[in-house]
Symmetry: C2
Subunit: 334 residues, 2 copies
């Protein structure tokens, strides 16, 4: 089964409610901006590229049923944009997608074409991301023959508008008949590997073994892992990678066990204004994600917690980058 986490169908936006996973697969039909904002705020929709598309659809949903005049509708575009952006202020892609649709709308002079331009842009962003994932998947699959592949966090259909980035490589290799077996690190504290990646593997019929993050060393030593492949949140000019916390530990362990360590990401993830990993700001998140989050408190309620959302993996640990344009091996020249 293909997983479509976002789709424009029958004049509605249809998304998977990710907060119900892995227990239930529920599609939400979204017809208004308020419904979309609620879905974004409650993390029913998450994942950077997916939020980019959602942000663009937000502009259209904000104006589609309006009977305002041309002056008012332009105000409404701006107000919709502000609402989308403030739904999750730190989500860069959300803002980017909303901006794309806002600008497309603002280039029009008739009410009907303003609405159409916003919708067309949102659909275009969705399709672009879909195609980008396909290319990353095909390029990355060339690096894969068979064996155990460890991945981290969720980089699949639930995070993108297509098959995913790092996960898309696995899915492409599997579709091509390569005998791979996915090891999904659960990815504490928010367990995206356990909740989402393991679920996607099941939906797609890919062999998958769920492990806790601290088992990575052991499974490598037991020679169960032949490749590690992860996504990226931001890649600096020198090739240093910021990604979900735990990525750096995996990179060190992979190097120690002489296992290739690949990073799959669209070109838009490269930030050429950022010289190296030291310059990437690392967001710290709510300590309660570590203290609890499994349904009950699992640590003293006031214990001091360090909860960085990301870590930085220096470029010397990276065997190659996989992008929609191809494979990049060291020395990295960006």
């Amino acid at each position: 089964m293909q997983i479509k986490s976002i789709e424009w169908a029958d004049d509605s936006l249809v998304v998977i409610d990710q907060t119900q996973l892995p227990e239930k697969l529920i599609y939400l039909k979204i017809d208004t901006l308020d419904q979309l904002l609620e879905a974004i705020q409650k993390l029913k929709i998450r994942g950077a590229p997916l939020l980019g598309a959602a942000g663009a659809f937000g502009i259209y949903l904000g104006i589609r049923n309006s009977r305002a005049d041309i002056y008012e509708i332009n105000n409404l575009v701006r107000r919709s944009y502000d609402k989308v952006v403030s739904a999750r202020p730190t989500a860069v892609n959300l803002k980017w997608g909303a901006e794309q649709a806002k600008e497309a709308a603002q280039n029009q002079v008739e009410i009907a074409s303003i609405k159409k331009a916003a919708l067309d842009k949102a659909i275009e962003i969705t399709l672009d991301d879909f195609r980008r994932c396909e290319s990353i998947g095909k390029n990355g699959s060339d690096l894969i023959t068979e064996g155990g592949i460890l991945t981290h966090c969720n980089t699949g259909a639930l995070a993108t508008c297509g098959i995913g980035t790092a996960f898309g490589v696995l899915w492409t290799a599997h579709r091509q008949g390569k005998k791979i077996s996915v090891f999904a690190g659960e990815t504490r504290p928010l367990l995206q590997g356990a909740r989402l990646t393991a679920w996607e593997c099941q939906q797609l019929g890919m062999p998958c073994t769920l492990i806790t993050d601290n088992m990575a060393g052991m499974v490598m030593r037991k020679k169960l892992i032949h490749i590690v492949i992860v996504g990226a949140d931001r890649i600096a000019k020198n090739g240093d990678v910021a990604n979900k916390i735990g990525t750096y530990s995996l990179a060190v362990l992979a190097k120690q066990h002489q296992i290739p360590f690949y990073v799959a990401a669209p070109l838009s993830t490269f930030d050429f204004h950022c010289p190296d990993g030291e310059s990437i700001p690392i967001e710290e998140r709510d300590p309660d994600e570590v203290r609890g989050g499994f349904g009950k408190l699992t640590a003293p309620k006031d214990v001091n917690v360090f909860n960085p959302a990301f870590d930085v993996t220096p470029h010397e640990y990276i065997t190659a980058f996989i992008t929609e344009k191809g494979i990049s091996k060291p020395p990295f020249q960006f």
Copy 2:
């Protein structure tokens, strides 16, 4: 505050109900063998050395109120032993402690002295373990000056009859006025680091930061960690160490960052019949510990899981062993 997880007081066994931690500190008064068996089965009492003492007390509790004759009381000793052992069949220390008390009782020929010998042996085992922890703590503290110290799982008062093994070293250094800061790895899947070690640090007023296991690499790279110290479940003749899953990953990360990696354990942990780590059998536990286990399901309910309880750290990653007899550095000669 000193933590006493087991004590014979006012003719009762008093233990901490560890299933209530970290939310509530509740002492259980145990007066019968059935109460003890329930506490062991429900993991209200856990930790290898602590179970050794509990097992010995079980023999006494099984016979203390009996009015049987000398023949019957010897049968009762044996039946109590069988009950204790079958409460947790894989807990080696539980069996060992029960055996000690059983043999002490069986060496007596009068009813009163049979009862007294079982109780005396249980108290002796408790005190021996208390003193052993003190010695390990003192010996280990000589290796510590100041700084951040990462530990794994729970090796403190809640696992032993004293201050603990690896944790006892931290506590001793702290009591000696050394400026240390504990980093407690949460230790998935059962979160002993989060639930127990972080709680012990709070009770004792030791600075503590809780992290998820996958943050270990990042905190080392940020130079927040100056020493790693862990306990051991079994040490082979060549110095390979079986310990809680995740230990091996920490050892590799420590070596990569040139951080000393110490193993603190009583001499009874060394198994000279076991030539190396490859010969140590690794128990696999219930997959549901990884899929959920803290009040809600956090992975697909039927996803394949690998859940080894322990991993093996080869001796070449170990800077030194800390035992009650002193420090042992490579080349290890056991």
